[in-house]
């Protein structure tokens, strides 16, 4: 994504390129590069499965990481002592139904659907839901200010855990 960066000129194929690139980084466990896609004031959220519409800051949500905790999550996942992900799962993300929901001068709100397959020890689970992104334009390209993964599963059965980045 080079050239003139502005919310007004951003097209859906641009957004798709961005999201597909992000998904590839995650599936390839290039988590430090993935982290570089975020702004300093970012938030990564997964709401409580039984309260998908409630603010993760005020509910017993699944994930509510600001930048410092998101960095720690990435540092942790790269360690062999992050037992739930050692050895690493294989993951495959299918991202579809990408839409630009709104755009103002410096921020774009994007929606997309996801299916994330996690395979490990001969066991496969699928996380299904939708993403909400707030993307903002910085000097070196588009960055994620807010990334929210809203699960359709209301019980994490048989998943047991979300040890990967969703």
């Amino acid at each position: 994504m080079t050239g003139v960066l502005s919310a007004a000129t951003l097209t859906r194929p641009d957004v798709e390129d961005f999201l597909f690139h992000e998904a590839a980084l995650l599936d390839e466990w290039r988590l430090e590069e993935w982290l570089d896609l975020f702004t300093i004031d970012c938030v990564y959220e997964v709401p409580a499965p039984d309260r998908p519409d409630d603010d993760p800051a005020e509910t017993f949500a699944l994930i509510h990481d600001r930048r410092p905790m998101l960095e720690q999550r990435v540092i942790r996942l790269k360690k062999p002592t992050a037992h739930a992900e050692f050895p690493h799962s294989r993951t495959r993300r299918l991202i579809t139904n990408v839409r630009i929901i709104s755009a103002d001068s410096d921020q774009v709100r994007v929606g997309a659907n996801f299916a994330v397959f996690r395979v490990r020890n001969g066991i496969e689970v699928t996380y299904v839901g939708r993403y909400e992104y707030d993307l903002t334009c910085e000097a070196d390209g588009w960055k994620i200010r807010r990334r929210k993964a809203i699960l359709d599963q209301d019980v994490l059965d048989p998943h047991g855990k979300i040890s990967i980045i969703l």
Binding site: M69, A82, K161
Partner: protein, 444 residues
């Protein structure tokens, strides 16, 4: 197959304790647990704060049955089985809400929230022998202690308070933390694991696994900066037998990650208010130890100072468990402190947190390891058994659970271990003049 009588070996003389691994794998034992344990014990249903107003309800699974946990129009807590007396369908299919009447959609039988059958469509087609009074929703025995509601399907269960034994003191230590009550935060963690439920009961009070399983969590704390606990020098902690299979492990206060000046000030203020209300000794026990309480058969309340986790675990199969986690919050703290506690709680305990996934992984790995059960029959739980006062990283608390488990399954008696729970913190010091000058200058 090994008979239940030999599943738990409790050798006090040699200080050896072991559990036969078929207790985690056998279909027969799983079925026997349903009868002897889940059919007879007190089982946690919910916290009154989840149904604050008249006609509020929550539905959930307890002991394999769906249950309606509701407050009737008089404000009384009601626990009813969610099954129509006509043909069995669930009469309430919503997870939560506010209703005076639960109507079965199948044939339209309707019940009020005290469980009474109030409407039968085309009802005159029944004979005189048909008694509507006998066709209310089934209400198991239910009792509430300090806001925590339990049910039992056992006719012979003692009163709840008797059953809880010394675990009552530990419930008090969380229930008394707020002058305006404790409440369950919105948002529930429902997840499962591919491992036996008893492994999670052990894990919920296991001080020994902390630094191996959760090394990355503690490294995160060090990376972000830790604010040390408010009370230093607390020794090595202790495990306590609370009676009836309940037990607790108490450890020194944990440091707090990412604490701002504002949060630190709110924490200090909260402590000073509690000291004023309850005295120093009780406040120290309440706020400056961590307590992993397990209540037989399948509940844990874990207070790690930065949050309070309420957890149940029900077996779905010998190697599958349904887990629910809630967060208990003091009502009388600042909004900023509430947010701080929520963030810490979900970062540690959530199934997407930085700690719990590693516990689940550990327990699932144990279950996988049980595939070698013919060659390796026993698990060892002897740690600290011959010492006078088992520490926080010993295993007394797990042995208490297993002795009650064995007693429930075989009729053997569960002989206590160690000294009774130390409640000296409940004694208020002799009255002395209040020295206003020594107050910390905090204002309300």
């Amino acid at each position: 197959m090994t008979t239940p009588g030999t599943l738990v070996v409790d050798d006090r003389e040699k200080g050896l304790f072991r559990v036969h691994r078929s207790a985690f794998t056998s279909e027969e034992i799983f079925k026997r647990e349903q009868e002897e344990i889940f059919g007879k014990s007190w089982l946690y249903v919910g916290h009154e704060s989840e149904i604050p107003n008249p006609n509020d309800f929550q539905t959930r699974r307890v002991g394999g049955r769906t249950v309606i946990y509701t407050r009737d129009k008089q404000g009384q807590v009601q626990v009813m089985l969610n099954s129509c007396r006509h043909r069995g369908a669930e009469v309430c299919r919503e997870r939560r809400g506010n209703r005076k009447i639960f109507t079965c959609f199948y044939h339209g039988w309707a019940y009020n929230n005290e469980g009474r059958l109030v409407s039968v469509p085309d009802g005159d087609r029944y004979s005189e022998a048909f008694d509507r009074g006998e066709h209310g929703l089934f209400k198991p025995r239910a009792e509430t202690y300090r806001g925590f509601t339990y049910l039992t399907f056992g006719a012979d269960a003692p009163a709840l308070e008797t059953y809880l034994a010394d675990a009552k003191h530990l419930i008090d230590l969380v229930a008394d933390q707020s002058s305006t009550g404790m409440y369950i935060v919105h948002g529930t963690h429902n997840y499962s694991m591919r491992a036996n439920w008893k492994l999670l009961m052990e894990n919920s009070c296991d001080g020994y696994h902390g630094f191996t399983v959760h090394q990355t969590y503690f490294e995160m704390m060090l990376n972000l900066g830790v604010t040390p606990g408010l009370v230093a020098d607390q020794g090595r902690g202790a495990g306590w037998d609370l009676g009836n299979g309940h037990a607790v492990v108490e450890s020194p206060e944990l440091g707090m990650p990412l604490m701002s000046e504002e949060i630190l000030a709110a924490t200090v203020l909260r402590r000073s208010q509690l000291v004023k209300r309850l005295g120093e000794a009780r406040t120290k026990r309440m706020l400056n130890t961590t307590r992993n309480l397990i209540m037989f058969p399948n509940m844990a309340i874990i207070d790690l100072n930065f949050g309070i986790q309420v957890r149940t675990m029900f077996p779905l199969a010998p190697d599958r468990t349904e887990i629910t986690g809630w967060q208990l919050m003091p009502n009388d703290v600042s909004e900023a402190l509430k947010r701080y506690r929520i963030d810490n709680a979900l970062t540690f305990w959530g199934p997407a947190g930085l700690a719990t996934p590693d516990d689940v992984e550990g327990l699932e790995q144990c279950q996988r390891g049980f595939s070698s059960m013919r060659e390796i029959e026993w698990s060892d739980i002897s740690r600290g058994m011959s010492s006078q006062q088992p520490t926080a990283v010993d295993e007394l608390q797990m042995r208490c659970f297993w002795r009650q488990w064995n007693a429930s399954m075989t009729g053997a008696s569960a002989i206590p271990e160690g000294s009774p729970y130390d409640t000296s913190y409940l004694k208020r010091p002799a009255a002395k003049p209040v020295l206003e000058t020594s107050s910390s200058g905090m204002t309300q």
